[in-house]
């Protein structure tokens, strides 16, 4: 029997293409920066919103755990998660919360915190959003839990909920 060489090549190429497309279909392409977990946060210097202080990563080394929360007064999901931040600030003394106010106005932040309560140990501003890029955020709210060594332990994209709140409590006990 004569083997048709070109037919074999075409057949194996088709099989190869089908398997590549099949693998592509099965691959999860949902974007996430959760793979930053385990890496160190970069250097940053951000101005405090209510004083002339500059907060840098050095200040966070003194805390056992720091929760970096990106929020804005104009962000509706930030209102939803705020109660969990308040609960964390009250119940867990191991955590200090750093609020990064994203593209907002001081007056609006003050109104927001007066209305919902202030869980933050430090509040810094990121007027143009550039500093948030250093943390790999792409929207708000986002929350990053880091330890004393500034290593990211957990990253939450979107508003905190009961499950994530409990997980953060567990991680910081």
């Amino acid at each position: 029997m004569r083997i048709n060489f070109s037919k074999i090549i075409i057949f194996s190429f088709v099989i190869f293409l089908i398997s590549v497309f099949w693998m592509g279909l099965k691959k999860d392409n949902n974007y996430s920066t959760k793979n930053l977990t385990g890496s160190e946060i970069g250097n940053f210097k951000l101005p405090s919103i209510y004083s002339s202080d500059i907060i840098s990563e050095e200040a966070l080394k003194q805390n056992q755990f720091t929760l970096i929360n990106f929020f804005a007064s104009w962000c509706a999901p930030c209102r939803l998660e705020h109660k969990y931040l308040i609960k964390l600030a009250r119940q867990n003394k191991n955590i200090k919360i750093l609020g990064v106010n994203f593209k907002d106005k001081k007056k609006n932040v003050t109104n927001f915190l007066n209305e919902l309560g202030d869980p933050y140990d430090y509040i810094v501003e990121d007027r143009d959003g550039k500093a948030s890029i250093l943390f790999g955020t792409y929207g708000i709210p986002e929350t990053i839990l880091i330890n004393k060594e500034l290593i990211i332990i957990k990253k939450v994209i979107g508003p905190l909920d009961q499950t994530q709140y409990e997980e953060i409590l567990k991680l910081t006990q």
Partner: protein
């Protein structure tokens, strides 16, 4: 007087040419960055909040004298390889880089065989 005018025109033209060159470099970088919160748009195409922030960061880094490669590496470290359209060469994407060359050579070979066969048939 004429000499002065020539100098002024020369400086205006050279600065505008420099600006054009710099903005072309920026656009090239924006085009190779994916807007990860948009549907199939690059940073250059998108007017989203995320895209405009990335544009500011890239502009800053260019001003600081960072190279295109350094900017990509910085953004990859923050957002993963998904943010760049042109992936870096790794063992996982070996096929992605070499398959086009392989197909090109194979295609050439097939055409060569077909032509050779048809010539041989005609001769017979």
């Amino acid at each position: 007087m004429i000499f002065k005018k020539i100098i002024i025109i020369y400086f205006l033209l050279s600065s505008s040419l420099y600006c054009k060159e710099a903005s072309l470099e920026l656009i090239e970088i924006y085009k190779n960055l994916r807007c990860i919160v948009c549907q199939g748009q690059s940073i250059a195409d998108s007017n989203s909040d995320f895209a405009s922030t990335i544009k500011l960061v890239v502009k800053d880094q260019i001003k600081e004298g960072k190279t295109e490669e350094e900017i990509y590496n910085f953004l990859i470290s923050k957002y993963g390889e998904w943010i760049v359209y042109k992936p870096t060469f790794k063992k996982n994407n070996f096929f992605l880089w070499f398959l086009p060359y392989f197909i090109f050579i194979l295609g050439g070979l097939i055409i060569f065989i077909i032509i050779k066969k048809s010539k041989h048939n005609r001769a017979n």
